[in-house]
């Protein structure tokens, strides 16, 4: 029998051991016109210029390195530098920017920059993820 399922080689998150400044795996993707079109329909804005937002690249990079019980976006910042151009390959560089404990809950802050294949810096995103996602249901149902 042929085994097609690859083993999950990601590390299990140990929040205490997680190092601030750790670089996460870089990755790249080609932004297509279809992605931009679908993004604009989703956000109901025909002029929305940063489809990179829906790619969630910082937590995506984290998810390539770690596995855990999920998380909730508690805070997010986005800096615009240059609009992404469909057809260009976009490379993402991400790292662990911070971690903190608040009211007994653990948070991880990831940060990423996106650069296209012409060397244009597109954007920077910083996300604070609450690592106890069930808190949302407990509080808001």
């Amino acid at each position: 029998m042929v085994q097609t399922q690859e083993a999950d080689t990601r590390k299990v998150l140990d929040w205490e051991a997680l190092e601030i400044g750790e670089h996460l795996p870089s990755f790249s993707y080609v932004l297509t016109q279809e992605m931009l079109k679908e993004y604009r329909r989703g956000v109901m804005d025909p002029e929305a210029a940063f489809p990179t937002i829906s790619h969630k690249v910082d937590v995506g990079a984290y998810g390539r390195a770690y596995r855990d019980h999920g998380s909730v976006n508690a805070r997010c910042a986005f800096h615009c530098y240059n609009t992404p151009i469909p057809g260009n390959r976009i490379t993402v560089h991400a790292w662990i920017a911070d971690k903190y404990l608040r009211r007994g809950k653990t948070y991880i802050v990831t940060e990423a920059v996106s650069v296209d294949d012409n060397g244009r810096l597109l954007d920077r995103v910083i996300t604070h993820e609450l690592k106890q996602p069930a808190e949302v249901g407990k509080k808001w149902g």
Binding site: Y39, F50, S54, N73, C80
Partner: protein, 149 residues
Amino acid sequence: MGITRTFKVGDELPPLVKHMTQEAINLFEGSAGHRGPSQFTDEATARQTLGTSSTVASGRMSLTFGLELLRRYFGADVYNRGGMVDLRFLRPVRPGDAITFSGKITAISKEADGNRVSVEVTAANQKGDVTAVGAGSCVVPSGFFPPEE
């Protein structure tokens, strides 16, 4: 001389209203290839992961709406090359919600490449409950401001 604009602390931005639907959430997630069931697209997964009674919209959708509020005010040419927004998500946004984004200028400060106009941003649902708060800003080139006296 190009177009000049006046910005004053206390000026309010025209509000932006967004009607959240499950279709919009699915499109947002799908645009990045996230097509499997998730807390955003599948009720059972949301119940299991978040313990919520319904799906929720990604905070990044609210982030995008915050960007739109500010881009419409400052203009795409300026905002898409130096704008930012930073939001804390206080309550879930769910399909069926109507979210109003509003903003008010809180500060104007000189920078090397223009004037940074800072704005406080608030998002509230149809019940008046605040779903997100934060700030945004944009560096507006000096040439867009009236000449100093």
